[in-house]
């Protein structure tokens, strides 16, 4: 645990000191968990995370340093890191993506596949989506595709649960579990895209009506 260079108090985050209520100079590649003063975890409590974010914001937000150009600039930078960290950790999939990368797991450019068991279904869904895309609004093909939504959604929550299980507790750096997690993350990304496409088809249908 590092201490504040001004008052010597122990720091919850290196972004700023809660006792002095000022931002502190930090290295730019600060880990999002460290920025928020949290232990790395795939299963963290989002309410806890938000409470931490507000607490640290009250110490270092640029609004409180408008009178001093230097402090204001530092507060801008540090709050920028803090808010980016919140964005990364608040959403479970972005958080999982960050954990896989930070533990030297494969990136989505290195591992592009999806889990084997999932592939047959992907082929079927792709076919239904392609037919729906080519068909007219309100047609049977559209209805079939739109009917896939509950299926895709339950698949998504299953995959998300699987990822959290793989990453909690944190696996060892470079371990096989990270590659499995990457495959699952790719599956979720596929599902999100497919769900997004269903939504735009639904909107187009609604408009046509």
């Amino acid at each position: 645990m590092t201490t504040c260079p001004h008052c010597g108090a122990e720091l919850e985050t290196s972004l700023g000191c809660g006792a002095c209520q000022v931002p502190l100079e930090v290295t730019p590649d600060l880990d999002p968990f460290a920025a928020l003063g949290l232990a790395p975890s795939a299963a963290l409590d989002v309410e806890d995370l938000k409470a931490k974010h507000l607490k640290i914001s009250r110490w270092i937000h640029p609004d409180y340093f408008a009178a001093s150009p230097e402090l204001r600039a530092l507060a801008e930078t540090n709050t920028g890191h803090l808010n980016a960290a919140l964005e990364t950790l608040e959403e479970p999939m972005r958080r999982a993506d960050h954990i896989v990368s930070s533990l030297a797991g494969p990136s989505d450019a290195e591992v592009k596949d999806m889990p084997q068991v999932f592939l047959m279904e992907v082929l079927e869904w792709n076919e239904a989506l392609a037919e729906a895309r080519a068909a007219d609004p309100g047609s049977a093909q559209r209805e079939t595709a739109l009917g896939l939504k509950p299926d895709l959604e339950s698949q998504r929550s299953e995959r998300v649960a699987a990822i959290t299980k793989l990453l909690d507790p944190l696996p060892d750096s470079g371990s096989e579990a990270l590659t499995t997690a990457r495959l699952e993350l790719n599956a979720v990304r596929y599902l999100d895209r497919a769900l997004g496409e269903l939504e735009s088809l639904r909107l187009a249908d609604a408009e046509a009506r």
Partner: protein, 623 residues
């Protein structure tokens, strides 16, 4: 370092002004005796119409109430709704431009110019006139104090270019802009202060020209915006124009098409429409009445509230679509909203109130004057910023995603909409060609997948990457969105530290130099000064280019073929001739461009040497 500055902060004069710079009316407020108050001179309203009238004798323009008083008599010399023009290219403003009673054109910087008797005005300068007027008006109530530090509000859905334009307007008005605050957020601050609320709040803000909806969660003095949605081209003005269309259609037999499209006529019709609209907020029916004395023509029709509601229903539906999107982005159901706040003059319309009430299933708050609540909130934020209050904190979001163009014209998003600001995001990029020494970046804002569907903000190039195989360079691009919602981008090649930092100046926007020039230049000679200055800049640039070319030729002359050499020498001569008798910026520009073209082979040759040196392990400085 921290302590000294904190003391300074505590000793500073604590007065700063909050200004609501509105499409139809503007208003100022300050923090006084532990609460925000609208400032207005004794016996006068605080509201200043956002109207500018240019007297035909060429005297100083009348701004505010005086401008508005002239509007009815000489609509052909009066400007309204300038806020709608802020930070937008002329191509996006066809409807607006048709209603401006002066000639308009687009400057080479992509910024609109309104030509008033030969003197061009940008929307930024016109807004600055209004800002100055509001500021003066407010200061008259402050017994000698003139707070130059201000907070100005903008629609939450304003993009980067529109925010930049507002910032420039403040500078042109000689004000020190502490912060740009989103209007719905400001309104929420004003309400939250009055009632010490906590919970989830929806702010529905329908003004003269813009619509915003923001959802906020309030707890322990922290006002956190969850999501925002809106339309910067939707407001009470649209209701007026729906009524204006009735007048135009009604008079089609009596007036020619030209007369019906005359901006002066349209302004008169607009004022009549506005009167009718206001009356319909209290009466079940009202007269839509316009006399065109010059042509002996009269239009008269009674409009019922039901007719009016049918006219405005499509616009109100559009606002509700935005509410749906804001709810979905925040992951909040309508039933989870604890309070609804109405802001903006257009929320006085009974049909608007009714629609909002049934959408959220709650009776909206209207305790605070919807015309004043934004300025009051701006004064609260101004008070926080000058160090008067650490119990409250405002956390706002960016309304539109920010990204970079990638292969095939697709957008790679770096900052997604509704991210809390300030926000810093860094992403890695690499080169795609062998020995590529520069990378072009194109910054866009918007939600669509393709660059062509988004708003183009800026383009820049990172230069000085050492030649290396494709995919080897490691370029970090950092987006920083500050608390005003304004973007700064920097790029860095990590193995050499080649670094480029751009203050994002929108593709159609004023550069810092232009703002300086407008501040300095006298009214009459502004355009002339600009041409002279541009010529001077070109002379300097050509000089630098000639020196560099001559120096490079010394070492490389024998490696160039005769034709290229002659080409370069001819271009050098032309360039020299152009700088000896400067004055014509166009000739200078073409000489500069010609020199650049002719020296391309020379540059390529030198680049090659650099590449060979790098591969053979020589330091770049030694080449």
């Amino acid at each position: 370092m921290g302590y000294i500055e904190l003391n300074v902060l505590n000793n500073q004069s604590s007065l700063a002004m909050g200004i609501d710079l509105g499409t139809t009316n503007s208003l100022a407020a300050v923090w006084k005796d532990d609460r925000p108050v609208i400032v207005h001179p004794e016996g006068k309203s605080g509201s200043v119409p956002s109207v500018i009238h240019f007297p035909s004798d060429g005297k100083q323009p009348d701004v505010g109430r005086a401008g508005r008083d002239h509007a009815a008599a000489s609509p052909e010399r009066t400007l309204f709704s300038i806020k709608r023009l802020m930070g937008r290219p002329a191509a996006d403003l066809t409807d607006e431009l048709a209603r401006i009673p002066f000639p308009t054109n687009e400057g080479s910087d992509g910024v609109l110019r309104i030509d008033v008797d030969g003197r061009p005005f940008t929307p930024q300068e016109l807004s600055a006139l209004i800002l100055s007027r509001v500021h003066d008006h407010g200061c008259r109530a402050l017994s000698g104090e003139k707070p130059e530090r201000v907070v100005i509000t903008v629609p939450a859905y304003f993009d980067d270019a529109q925010r930049q334009a507002t910032r420039d307007a403040a500078r042109l008005a000689g004000l020190d802009l502490l912060r740009i605050v989103n209007e719905p957020t400001a309104a929420c601050l004003a309400y939250g202060l009055d009632q010490e609320k906590s919970g989830t709040v929806a702010v529905y803000d329908l003004g003269g020209g813009t619509f915003d909806v923001s959802l906020l969660s309030i707890a322990d003095g922290v006002f956190k915006v969850l999501s925002t949605a809106g339309d910067t081209h939707l407001g009470g003005d649209d209701f007026d124009y729906a009524l204006v269309d009735l007048i135009v259609e009604g008079l089609r037999g009596e007036l020619s098409d030209e007369e019906l499209a005359d901006p002066g006529f349209l302004t008169g019709a607009r004022l009549a429409a506005e009167r009718c609209k206001h009356a319909l907020s209290t009466d079940p029916q009202a007269d839509l009445h316009m006399v065109l004395a010059s042509r002996g023509v009269t239009f008269h029709r009674t409009i019922t509230r039901e007719e009016f509601e049918d006219l405005i229903r499509p616009f109100v539906e559009r606002t509700l679509d935005n509410c749906r999107r804001a709810l979905s982005d925040a992951g909040v159901e309508p039933g989870e909203i604890d309070d609804v706040i109405l802001v903006g003059g257009s929320t006085r319309i009974p049909f608007v109130r009714k629609s909002v009430e049934s959408f959220f299933g709650r009776i909206p708050h209207t305790e605070l004057n919807p015309d004043e609540v934004v300025a009051l909130g701006a004064a609260v934020q101004a008070h926080i910023l000058v160090g008067g209050n650490r119990d409250m904190l405002l956390l706002d979001v960016i309304p539109l995603s920010l990204g970079l163009e990638t292969v095939g014209g697709a957008v790679s998003k770096l900052v997604t909409r509704n991210s809390t600001i300030p926000c810093s995001v860094t992403e890695g990029f690499t080169t795609y060609a062998e020995d590529q020494t520069g990378i072009d970046f194109h910054i866009v804002q918007g939600e669509r997948e393709m660059v062509s569907d988004c708003r183009s903000l800026a383009k820049f190039q990172l230069k000085g990457i050492p030649p290396m195989p494709a995919g080897m360079a490691r370029v970090a691009v950092r987006f920083h969105v500050d608390a005003d919602g304004l973007l700064t981008v920097s790029a860095r090649e990590e193995s050499t530290g080649a670094s480029t930092r751009v203050e994002v100046e929108p593709m159609s926007g004023l550069s810092d130099e232009e703002v300086e020039r407008m501040l300095l230049a006298s009214v009459e000679h502004a355009e002339e000064d600009f041409a002279v200055r541009r010529a001077a800049d070109l002379v300097t640039e050509i000089g630098t280019m000639r020196t560099a070319t001559a120096r490079s030729l010394e070492g490389a002359r024998e490696n160039l073929d005769l034709e290229t050499l002659q080409d370069i020498e001819a271009a050098l001569e032309t360039a020299e001739a152009a700088t000896i008798s400067p004055g014509d910026a166009a000739a200078l520009q073409s000489a500069r461009d010609e020199l650049e073209r002719a020296t391309l082979p020379l540059a390529a040759l030198l680049m090659d040497d650099v590449a060979k040196a790098a591969l053979s392990g020589k330091r770049l400085e030694d080449v």
